[in-house]
């Protein structure tokens, strides 16, 4: 049984005295409206302490017109008295009741009209209608006619009969705390000690509270932070770099040929800005044209300075890590960067023109392809993916290259990122003597799987309800 409210208790106390009574009576005793009493009674009924009977009583009342006729007779009765044994229609028309009464007389077939003279029909009268009008509560066909004529109204009166149950009686006999309830605890009551005598209102814990929404970080940011933490723990230094990059650092330094399709206007956001090429750019130029001093043949063809000077919105964070390498060519170096990158794509549910990329690099004497696989395996394990496998792939600036796949329960193997060792064509012109292991992955791919999103745009054009309802701590299962 739920805790009784103060009002239920007051109701039961009166009921115990009265036994069975109606709501109006109770309302007087309790100094409340009948509606309130009924509400409390229903609450008590839910607790099986009382019974509420809803009693509907029908009644008939006169309309104003009906009341006049009840006193003076129906218009047709008044006309019948005037007609007597016979009169002229003209005489009858002078009577105030003619308009309504004559129609009724004709309808009921009580009179006949011959050559302007009106006479009654033998053996017929309005007496039954008059009886019905005097006693409408008796009902019947004639009363229905009167209702139709708008002389009598049928009304319904609802009454509530409230009876205390044996359980209610028992509760009253056992004693109810009838002290007045208090909603709030005040400073005065705490200091004075009055709280001891207080009857603080008790709340129904079965009722859900109004939702409170904490301030919190974006679920996507939490995934980014998780990756940051894993890589910081693995001994990596975090990088941060500009969104606007020179083509030189975004493409050329990465040995991407100047006629590579990814460099076309269709795929990359170009800006109407140029920046001067860095010192030593000619070593990169020589590498493209002829392979410089390495065993490479280079791409051949012509390498144009103007193309390298053009600024773009970075298409990968590799443009940031390659500059970090160029500035820090001495081993060891372990660094990562998570940042937004741009592709000139039409935006839809699975493609965005801007998205977060994670990129990691390791440069050290004697690091090798096996070490790269090892780093990836540790990283993906820490992200919660138990199954990790590698397969050959192709990236213009790495050799050998690979794609990493992780196993996701219920989906299977999914591609989670690419990796490789920077080509010597990339590292040699920057004066880097050691191999550089590099890998990257699309952060939004993991976010989409983890957050169960059907539409990537939801990460950036988020529904506030989605953010509010997204728990800070997710039950993680197999990386998701």
């Amino acid at each position: 049984m739920a805790e009784l409210t103060q009002n239920e208790k007051r109701l039961l106390t009166v009921l115990a005295r009265e036994g069975c009574t109606d709501a109006l009576n109770l309302a007087q005793h309790l100094d409340a409206t009948a509606d309130a009493v009924v509400q409390w009674a229903y609450l008590a009924m839910e607790n099986r302490l009382a019974k509420v009977d809803r009693i509907v009583e029908k009644d008939f009342v006169y309309t104003e017109e009906g009341r006049t006729y009840a006193e003076h007779g129906l218009p047709e009765t008044q006309l019948m008295a005037l007609i007597g044994t016979g009169t002229t229609l003209a005489n009858l028309q002078k009577h105030e009741a003619f308009r309504i009464g004559f129609g009724q007389l004709r309808k009921k077939g009580l009179v006949t009209v011959t050559d302007g003279n009106v006479s009654t029909v033998a053996g017929r009268s309005t007496s039954e209608d008059e009886i019905a009008l005097k006693n409408p509560h008796k009902g019947g066909e004639r009363v229905k006619d009167l209702i139709k004529r708008g002389l009598v109204l049928e009304t319904e009166t609802v009454r509530y009969q409230i009876t205390i149950s044996p359980a209610g009686m028992l509760a009253v006999q056992q004693g109810l705390d009838l002290r007045e309830e208090q909603g709030t605890l005040t400073r005065e009551q705490i200091l004075s000690g009055n709280y001891k005598d207080l009857n603080l209102r008790k709340y129904d814990i079965g009722k859900l509270p109004k939702k409170a929404y904490p301030g919190k970080t974006h679920p996507y940011q939490r995934i980014i932070d998780e990756m940051r933490e894993i890589l910081l723990n693995m001994g990596f230094t975090e990088l941060y770099g500009g969104i606007v990059q020179q083509s030189f650092w975004n493409f050329d330094a990465l040995f991407q040929p100047q006629d590579h399709p990814a460099r076309e206007m269709q795929d990359t956001f170009y800006l109407n800005e140029t920046l001067p090429l860095p010192d030593g750019y000619k070593r990169v130029k020589a590498m493209h044209q002829s392979g410089g001093e390495t065993s490479s043949t280079g791409w051949g063809g012509v390498w144009k300075e103007e193309r390298a000077e053009q600024c773009v919105l970075r298409t990968h964070t590799t443009s940031v890590s390659i500059q970090h390498l160029a500035n820090n060519p001495n081993p060891p170096l372990k660094a990562f960067c998570i940042g937004r990158v741009y592709r000139r794509e039409t935006i839809d549910t699975t493609h965005l023109a801007e998205f977060e990329q994670l990129e990691g690099i390791v440069m050290d004497k004697d690091v090798n392809f096996g070490n790269l696989l090892g780093i990836l395996r540790v990283f993906y394990h820490r992200m919660g993916f138990e199954g990790v496998r590698f397969k050959p792939s192709y990236y213009p600036y790495t050799e050998p290259s690979l794609d990493a796949e992780v196993f996701v329960e219920g989906i299977g193997w999914i591609e989670m990122g690419g990796a490789g060792i920077f080509r010597e064509e990339v590292t040699a012109p920057l004066g880097i003597q050691c191999p550089v292991l590099a890998w990257g992955l699309g952060v939004s791919r993991i976010a989409m799987l983890r957050l169960g999103l059907k539409d990537l745009r939801q990460l950036h054009h988020s529904d506030v309800a989605f953010l509010r309802e997204s728990p800070a701590l997710r039950q993680s299962k197999g990386g998701l």
């Binding site: 606007v244 081993p331 392809f369 096996g370 395996r377 050799e399 050998p400």
Partner: protein, 542 residues
């Protein structure tokens, strides 16, 4: 990415093994099986391996990988006696020509389809949409050598492929589907490239269209291949890939003489690679003989020369082998990625967060403490959102992207509050109060830096609230500041402030102007504030 159709029966005949074995192992040489149909599979290969863009090329590689036939494939080439001349005027138009005679072809639906799709894939991967390389294949028995590659007047007439009427070359660019598609590759030249035979019959108008006369049909027995372009290396690679694929299918290759030079030779390139360097790069331990055996499975000719050297003959169709490491990748693929021991490197290093990202973390903590919910808007936006709706004049440092895709993505953001306003606009139907924040990159005059913005919408939002939040943020970030009356039109006059530190304006706050609320279709007051995080002591210079 190139998706290649592999008909099972043809593939099985060429590979000399069953489809199940082939399709199970083909991803291990670098591919994705896209789908398996009843009679064929569609497999995606990487753009660096155009030699795999045909069933013949895939079969050749798989025979090696599966150990059915290893080592360098040898393709005998006899001289055909056919010659080509090149018009010197082409030097500035489309200078490079490659050609070959392919005899004894037996075409059926599948092999014609295969050669046509190889041609298309090469146009894409090697030819850069026909600009660098364009390929024409003709029935040799419809024309009479010698052939001439000339710079022709644009008024020259011939019947282009799949047409019945003669057209001038200018008309072809205007009216023919291929002419329209590739017109921009030639339209600025006074003369157009053209290949004709000794009787002045047209073979092709590279890189646009072949002539109807030389069309290849099921009855074709002998082919003359023309490949034109701007780079010798790429043109030769395309010739080699087509010739060797046709030879794999059973045809005989003959060379032609172009300006006195015999081509193609289909001869391998040679390089000597270090076993030690390969082992060191991959983290494995192979002897020279083992390394040579792995290379042979990848269809190189390979011979151990002492303990540290392997002599490698690179097949003429492997245009991707530029550097010794390219052969090492093939060793790794033959060895198997799954067999390489994956131990992380041993060098001890200490992780270090970047100060900008650390600052972001702290600012997020403050915002969350103030009850704000993080959002992560796009960085690309429009002038209308950034300035117009905000009643602000355009920031002179704003960057316009040159070829925007939509009107909503024309500039890189310079401020954050307008994007937060857009968020409120998208979430009008959600419960109030809404307090949103974002921290992230903005770009001004090519320089990237971070800002923090917060916004609060509810019936009681006002100047005092904006000021209180701004002040809390500044105090928590240890920024000494002063405030002056602002003139920012985005806010209501007398209910707006600029934040200064060290004499520099670093922030703004206030109660958003009702006209701005109207522009974003908002119905409640909004308090907003934005801070340039470079104001934080110790913010690093990029």
């Amino acid at each position: 990415m190139a998706v290649i159709t592999l008909p099972y029966k043809y593939l099985e005949r060429l590979t000399k093994t069953d489809r199940k074995t082939i399709l199970e192992k083909v991803p291990l040489i670098g591919s994705d099986v896209e789908r398996m149909e009843e009679d064929h599979a569609d497999v995606e290969f990487f753009p660096d391996r155009p030699d795999l863009f045909s069933p013949e090329g895939v079969a050749r590689a798989m025979r090696g990988f599966l150990g059915i036939e290893t080592g360098l494939p040898v393709y005998p080439v006899k001289p055909s006696g056919i010659t080509f001349t090149i018009d010197p005027m082409l030097a500035a138009i489309r200078p490079v020509l490659g050609a070959a005679v392919i005899r004894g072809v037996t075409f059926d639906d599948e092999s014609i389809q295969s050669i046509m799709s190889l041609q298309e894939s090469l146009h894409w991967a090697v030819g850069r949409g026909r600009s660098k390389v364009a390929i024409g294949i003709h029935d040799l028995d419809t024309v009479e050598p010698p052939f001439h590659y000339i710079a022709s007047p644009r008024s020259r007439r011939f019947v282009p492929l799949d047409c019945t009427e003669e057209m001038t070359m200018d008309e072809i660019l205007l009216k023919h589907a291929k002419g329209q598609e590739y017109a921009n590759l030639v339209k600025d030249f006074d003369r157009f490239p053209l290949i004709v035979d000794s009787g002045d019959h047209v073979l092709s108008f590279p890189p646009i269209i072949n002539s109807e006369r030389t069309k290849v049909t099921m009855k074709t027995k002998n082919i003359i291949l023309d490949t034109t372009g701007t780079e010798r290396k790429a043109v030769l690679a395309a010739v080699n890939i087509i010739c060797t694929a046709m030879a794999e299918g059973g045809a005989r290759i003959e060379s032609v003489t172009i300006n006195g030079v015999q081509t193609p030779t289909l001869a391998p390139a040679e390089r000597t690679v270090s076993v030690k360097e390969c082992n060191k790069l991959l983290g494995i331990h192979l002897s020279a003989a083992e390394m040579a055996a792995h290379l042979e499975r990848m269809r190189f000719g390979a011979r151990a020369e002492g303990p540290d050297a392997v002599n490698v003959l690179v097949p003429c169709y492997r245009a991707d082998i530029m550097h010794d490491w390219d052969t090492f990748e093939d060793v790794a693929i033959a060895y198997g990625y799954e067999r390489i021991s994956d131990l992380p490197p041993e060098t001890f290093t200490v992780g270090k967060p970047h100060p900008v990202q650390e600052l972001g973390r702290v600012a997020r903590e403050i915002f969350c403490g103030l009850g704000f919910l993080e959002v992560m808007p796009f960085t690309l936006t429009s002038e209308a959102t950034l300035f117009g709706k905000m009643r602000r004049s355009e920031n002179t440092g704003v960057l316009h992207v040159m070829h925007p895709i939509t009107v909503d993505n024309t500039v890189v953001r310079t401020e954050l509050v307008p994007l937060l306003m857009e968020f409120l606009s998208m979430n009008r139907h959600r419960e109030l109060p809404q307090r949103l924040f974002t921290i992230g990159d903005v770009v001004e005059c090519c320089a990237t830096y971070q800002k923090a913005g917060g916004i609060s919408m509810h019936p009681g939002a006002d100047f005092s609230e904006a000021y209180a939040f701004m002040d809390a943020m500044l105090r928590e970030l240890s920024i000494d500041y002063c405030v002056r009356e602002s003139s920012d039109e985005a806010f209501i006059e007398g209910r707006r402030g600029d934040v200064f530190t060290g004499g520099k304006k670093v922030g703004v706050f206030g109660e958003i102007h009702p006209a701005v609320l109207n522009a974003f279709e908002l119905e409640h007051p909004v308090a907003a504030f934005e801070l340039d995080l470079r104001a934080v002591p110790g913010y690093p210079a990029l």
